[in-house]
């Protein structure tokens, strides 16, 4: 349905034309969020600049291996802003190296950070923002209402972090007006979903990217609470005409149909993650730091480069090979997400070819609420056109 009265989520810069390279610059974080998949947080492991330099040299000097037209240099942690000095030095070296090699990326690159926002107003961070404003994206994670946010996003003491994050949202939105936030929903915060999305809209965040966790956390009856929350959210977005300027990724016109293609859902393997020791991974979910049950899968390191044999399974993954018969023939499969790292962590053997399907009932609940949302919205818009 094309309708100028409905806001659209911001498009991804260069989409699949860009390579994303993620530096895990630290394993430290001020918070101990309950749902965080990073299981090995510590205060002593940080990336050395030399490691980053070797990785950048390898990537920029091997154009034949990395033919993408554009690149996103992404920084995560832990909490990346704890290492803003290091990130600043790495970014300066990236710009120097791209120019020195006359690489096409010099004209087509972005820096990207994902942060808990606590340090956002600090002078060093603000200097970094000012210096790189033209090619910088920063995402701040805020989970919704103070009640929902503080349920999981807590300091080691157990104290919630809402106030310290929310304090910086106005500054962040002033500098990045179209920015979206990423919200994670687990079992015990389901009753807060509707209020939380609306709270974020009220804070001025117009685009809320939200998903339920992939892990084995869902309990009997959760899907009913979830569906009820989404129906309430649908009513409040439509009745309040919030759809004209806001988006919530739970509602999409493209979900809930049988799937006709055989593509993999996630971009693992096309991305590259570098950890503090300089090991390469197909994405950050395959680092030792992110896996609870399985050994990490490295695909090389910054000194020897990529082992392309290790990359082949990731690049040849398709929907059919990793899905059960039930998933392959599911009538509402489109939009049903999976995380390759979580799949691997939960698989019966050491394979990435087995989908974890813990969120099956949650997806079906989402599809029912989504059908309701679009049905009601279309009728409302049609009725307005007739008047």
């Amino acid at each position: 349905m094309v309708n100028q009265n409905i806001a659209k989520a911001p498009s991804v810069w260069m989409k699949s034309a860009a390579k994303t390279v993620t530096f895990m610059v630290t394993e430290d974080c001020q918070l101990r969020c309950h749902y965080c998949y990073l299981v090995g947080k510590n205060a002593h492991t940080r990336m050395d600049f030399e490691v980053a330099r070797q990785a950048i040299d390898y990537l920029v000097e091997n154009r034949d291996l990395f033919p993408e037209q554009a690149i996103v240099w992404d920084f995560i942690g832990g909490e990346p802003l704890l290492e803003i000095g290091l990130i600043d030095r790495i970014c300066a070296y990236i710009e120097y190296k791209q120019r020195q090699q006359e690489h096409p990326w010099a004209e087509s690159y972005r820096f990207s950070l994902t942060s808990n926002g606590i340090l956002y107003d600090k002078p060093a961070v603000q200097q970094f923002v000012a210096k790189n404003r033209d090619h910088l994206s920063i995402g701040i994670t805020i989970d919704g209402t103070p009640e929902k946010h503080d349920l999981h996003r807590v300091y080691p003491s157990g104290k919630g972090s809402y106030a310290d994050t929310a304090r910086n949202i106005p500054l962040w939105l002033a500098q990045f007006p179209g920015a979206s936030t990423k919200v994670t929903v687990a079992s015990d915060d389901l009753p807060h979903v509707a209020d939380s999305v609306l709270h974020l809209f009220a804070l001025g965040i117009r685009h809320v990217s939200i998903n339920v966790v992939f892990e084995d956390v869902w309990r009997e009856g959760d899907e009913r609470i979830f569906e009820k929350q989404l129906l309430e959210l649908a009513d409040r977005i439509i009745d309040g005409t919030l759809y004209a300027e806001h988006t919530c990724s739970f509602f999409s016109e493209h979900i809930g149909q049988p799937v006709q293609d055989n593509h993999n859902w996630c971009g693992t393997g096309r991305m590259l993650t570098v950890d503090c020791q300089g090991h390469f991974y197909p994405c950050h979910r395959f680092t030792p730091f992110s896996l609870a049950r399985k050994e990490a899968i490295t695909i090389g390191n910054c000194r020897d480069g990529i082992d392309f044999n290790k990359l082949r399974p990731f690049l040849s993954l398709d929907r059919f090979s990793q899905s059960s018969e039930a998933c392959r023939t599911c009538e509402v499969a489109s939009g049903c997400a999976w995380c390759q790292g979580a799949n691997y962590d939960y698989a019966d053997t050491d394979t990435i070819f087995q989908r974890a399907t813990y969120l099956c009932n949650m997806h079906k609940a989402r599809v029912r609420a989504n059908n309701y949302y679009w049905y009601k919205l279309k009728r409302k818009l049609a009725s307005e056109r007739c008047q």
């Binding site: 044999n309 398709d318 090979s321 050491d350 070819f353």
Partner: protein, 377 residues
């Protein structure tokens, strides 16, 4: 649980390697316990399984020989052993070729020749040395995991020389088989190792393994004790349908070695670059050999020419960004359906109906031009 058709039974820890793996020194020595062998043979007979016995250099005592001969079997053994009744496959390692006792002329013999990286340049010479002594020669490039461009180039040169010799033999009416050159010519579907799908291995330690290579990797790779149901989790990944690269490939003779897959790519269903490159190199040499022999082969009118490809690894084609998904689908569909091209459509549709009647309905749904859309008068 897949339909296992035969068991590979390793009679002693140091039994000869007949494939890519190396036999690693193991603490225990001696033959598989007689009682275990008796149970294995009994199990095979009761379940209609054939057995491939893998022998070492130790001569079998009389009671072992009686047991081995009581089952339908093939014996895979190094030269110098006394062949048992039943089929025998001789395994010759390149470094033992000169030491091996002179092999008798035997146009029916089945030989496995294992060649290492350091002797690749002598491959065609080894084949020449063995001419007249085999009806089928299976060539195993035992260091394939370490192959890079120089080794592949040597293989190509050696295959050209061997191909000329094979062509000459075919023109004389001597239809010898050399796995890397002639198998692809006669195949219309994947015909691979089949470990875990068609066969399982029972080792002297009394455990099941996917194949002998996993036995030599250590007991942690075991599928459980013989006598219990083998633990084959995610066994679908051993099947062709669940191997995204292989199911789009027509190098039908490829070993698709799950041990090398696991070792080099981390996944049993994903071949390494080395496996794909060598299989395509052999495929291309087979293509050239077939093209040079238009009518020398019996039944040649039924043999489908092997198309020339502009890639040497199907993974390259699958991941190319300059070709859209539809064009790739058309390419792979054309490649894989080539042996069916001459079959009348009505015959194909009948076969589809016999296989899965529901598939006809799906085909009709997907093919709108089959509908009569003319307005009714």
């Amino acid at each position: 649980m897949p339909m296992i058709k035969y068991l590979v039974v390793i009679l002693e820890p140091a039994a000869a390697s007949f494939c890519y793996y190396d036999v690693k020194p193991v603490p225990s020595s001696g033959l598989m316990p007689l009682e275990l062998l008796r149970r294995v043979v009994d199990h095979a007979i009761r379940n209609g399984l054939h057995i491939n016995f893998v022998h070492g250099d130790s001569p079998l005592p009389e009671e072992y020989v009686r047991l081995v001969e009581s089952a339908d079997h093939i014996s895979i053994m190094p030269p110098g052993q006394n062949p048992c009744a039943g089929g025998t496959v001789l395994v010759i390692d390149d470094h033992r070729l000169e030491d091996a006792p002179a092999l008798a002329e035997n146009p029916c013999a089945n030989i496995i020749l294992r060649v290492g990286r350091d002797r690749l340049r002598q491959l065609s010479g080894m084949v020449r040395q063995l001419m007249g002594k085999f009806g089928r020669l299976n060539i195993i490039l035992k260091d394939l995991a370490q192959f890079e461009e120089p080794e592949l180039q040597i293989c190509r040169e050696q295959m050209v020389v061997i191909g000329k010799r094979v062509a000459a033999e075919y023109r004389k009416g001597n239809f010898i088989e050399i796995s890397t050159l002639t198998d692809r010519i006669f195949l219309t579907n994947m015909n691979n190792c089949g470990a875990g799908v068609e066969h399982l291995t029972v080792a002297p330690d009394g455990r099941y393994y996917l194949c002998p290579a996993f036995y030599h990797e250590g007991p942690e790779h075991s599928l459980g004790a013989f006598g219990e149901t083998p633990r084959l989790e995610n066994s679908r990944l051993l099947e062709l349908d669940y191997a995204p690269i292989c199911r789009n490939c027509d190098a039908y003779h490829c070993k698709r070695c799950i041990y090398l897959n696991r070792k080099l790519t981390g996944e049993v269903n994903t071949p390494s670059r080395q496996q794909c490159r060598i299989a395509h190199l052999e495929r291309d040499q087979s293509r050239q050999l077939l093209a040079a022999l238009p009518s020398a082969i019996d039944g040649s009118e039924k043999i489908v020419p092997i198309p020339e490809l502009d890639y040497s690894d199907p993974f390259e084609m699958l991941t190319r960004r300059d070709i859209d998904g539809g064009a790739k689908d058309r390419h792979f569909a054309s490649l894989l359906s080539r042996p069916l091209e001459a079959v009348p459509a009505s015959q194909l549709l009948l076969q589809i109906y016999q296989l899965d009647p529901g598939l006809l309905a799906k085909l009709k749904q997907m093919t709108p031009f089959a509908l009569d859309l003319k307005p009714k008068k």
